[in-house]
């Protein structure tokens, strides 16, 4: 048996893979939170519940015939859900922005924090009331079942898919914000929304779409996560604190920071599980504390105004 630092290579690579998968989810979720905070200055604590909502929409679509018996509705599988569920969650995000979020743009951060925590409680509470706390199973799509034995580890196809798609979505989002005209509008509106509006750009509409996009990303992540974790009302609750730690480490509002620190911290967490399992739940927060002491703006943070 090959050992690395006294640990079997299978255990090490297995945990690295788990770390990479978790990192992919951290990166996707942190990206949404970073976009929303960076552009709207809203700490979107309801992001975890919106991620849960994405997974539940995928589950609803898969179980349409059981949920609405007698209507003759078809089962809508993973691939369609991967497009449809984020769109539904985007719509919910637009509605939340229109009804609630825009009312706290000009208020202290504490208000958006309280508002989004309250929305989380309502959303998660409603789902818990209907479906209980236990998880609903969601099958891996046929095309991505199975895996490949690499000799030193077993590589499940679905997990590779998650990592690749996550990287592609993260890059596409970064490109949109940093390299396109729409992204330039967003970045400018972050600095001076009143002036950008005076240039003829409909900033309120842009903020609404940006919130919807960030929330849609959470919904997309929820669909990606559904086959790996069970679909349950509390699935986002466990993740949201870590996601905020990732965003703080990357730099509040930094798109690239959220992506890099998401993957990096997922891997660190995975490796900690191998070498010091007891510390694996706290390692991210220890790193956050150190980063806040050494670099208060985060690893790649734009200075928040």
């Amino acid at each position: 048996m090959i050992l690395i630092f006294g640990v079997p290579i299978q255990a090490l690579t297995g945990q690295l893979m788990v770390g990479l998968i978790n990192g992919a989810f951290y990166a996707l979720l942190s990206l949404g939170v970073a976009i929303i905070f960076g552009m709207l200055r809203i700490a979107n604590f309801v992001h975890g519940a919106q991620y849960m909502l994405g997974a539940f929409v995928a589950w609803f679509l898969l179980n349409l015939p059981n949920i609405f018996p007698g209507l003759g509705l078809p089962t809508i599988g993973y691939w369609v859900a991967l497009v449809l569920a984020p769109l539904v969650v985007f719509g919910v995000g637009i509605l939340i922005e229109f009804l609630f979020i825009r009312r706290v743009y000009d208020l202290d951060h504490a208000y958006s924090l309280l508002l989004t925590i309250g929305l989380t409680m309502v959303l998660e509470g409603a789902f818990r009331l209907k479906y209980g706390s236990s998880g609903q199973p969601y099958e891996i799509p046929e095309l991505l079942k199975g895996g490949r034995n690499l000799g030193f580890m077993f590589l499940p196809y679905y997990r590779v898919w998650v990592v690749v798609v996550s990287l592609v979505v993260c890059f596409a989002t970064w490109f949109m914000i940093e390299r396109t005209k729409f992204g330039a509008y967003l970045r400018a509106a972050t600095e001076d929304p009143i002036l950008v509006r005076a240039f003829g750009i409909n900033v309120p509409l842009m903020l609404m779409l940006t919130y919807g996009f960030g929330v849609g990303l959470a919904g997309f992540t929820g669909v990606m996560a559904a086959p790996i974790y069970q679909v349950s009302p509390g699935m986002g609750q466990n993740l949201i604190i870590i996601v905020f730690a990732v965003v703080v480490i990357g730099g509040m509002g930094s798109i690239l920071g959220a992506i890099i620190s998401g993957f990096f911290l997922g891997i660190i967490e995975g490796l900690t599980k191998v070498f010091w399992p007891e510390a694996s739940n706290t390692v991210i927060f220890v790193i956050m504390a150190i980063i806040l002491l050494v670099r208060p703006n985060g690893l790649i943070g734009r200075v928040a105004k």
Partner: protein
């Protein structure tokens, strides 16, 4: 001192209907009233300056025209169309462009991105080549971060970017503030060029020597009111009065 309303009628009425008519404009910063009753007219193709001491309400007048003040009342008409209920993005789309006092250059955008940020609202705006002819420094610095430019270059960028838009009314808020004399002269040449192109300019300026070389008419603002106005030809006879208004 002129009777303000009579003066406006005389000066603005001489060349036909006003492009911009402002009547009894009031504006507030929170509970604090910044404009009390601004009345002024600007005709097509004119360069008009708003003069006054710091805090008189000059910049607030421009921001109110642009719809950037949260609370405002009265009437602002562009070619007879009421703007007072319009959002600032809608006002910009009607052909008014604003260059703020702090220049408003975005640090997260390159010079090229800053330059092309304001959307083109009408035909007839300057091409990028024409803007580079006016401000050659910008051509060399396109990939530089916007706020890495010198103060003068930032001012060129702030003016250049609104000239692309095709706006027919240009609002310039203290474009020469803190700039070297050579840059001030360059900005003066640009404003003359804008007038030659038939654009209308409202200029807020503390530097009266600069303003009188460019303007057709001047309004004096004090405590949120227009207290006097005169054509540029009337300035020599009113120099002492102006000095008293401006505290120079």
């Amino acid at each position: 001192m002129h009777d303000v309303f009579a003066t406006q009628t005389t000066h603005a009425g001489a060349g036909g209907a006003a492009m911009l008519e402002i009547r009894n404009l009031e504006a507030w910063y929170g509970e604090s009233r910044a404009l009390r009753s601004i009345c002024l007219d600007v005709r097509d193709g004119e360069v008009v300056t708003l003069l006054g001491r710091n805090g008189a309400g000059k910049s607030t007048t421009l921001k109110s025209i642009m719809g950037m003040m949260r609370k405002r009342a009265g009437s602002i008409k562009l070619y007879g169309e009421e703007l007072i209920g319009c959002a600032s993005n809608a006002i910009a789309r009607k052909g008014i462009a604003f260059c703020p006092e702090n220049r408003g250059i975005f640090s997260s955008l390159t010079v090229a991105e800053n330059l092309t940020l304001p959307p083109i609202v009408r035909d007839g705006g300057m091409s990028e080549e024409e803007i580079f002819d006016l401000f050659p420094n910008l051509r060399e610095r396109l990939n530089t971060g916007g706020t890495k430019l010198s103060g003068g270059e930032q001012q060129m960028l702030a003016i250049g970017r609104i000239l692309r838009t095709g706006a027919r009314l240009i609002l310039l808020d203290e474009p020469t503030e803190g700039l070297a004399p050579a840059i001030v002269q360059q900005i003066g040449r640009v404003i003359r060029r804008l007038r030659e192109r038939g654009l209308t300019v409202i200029l807020v300026e503390q530097n009266f020597r600069f303003a009188e070389t460019l303007a057709d008419r001047h309004y004096v603002i004090e405590n949120g009111n227009v207290v006097d106005s005169m054509t540029n030809a009337e300035v020599p006879a009113n120099r002492d009065k102006l000095a008293a208004y401006l505290g120079v």
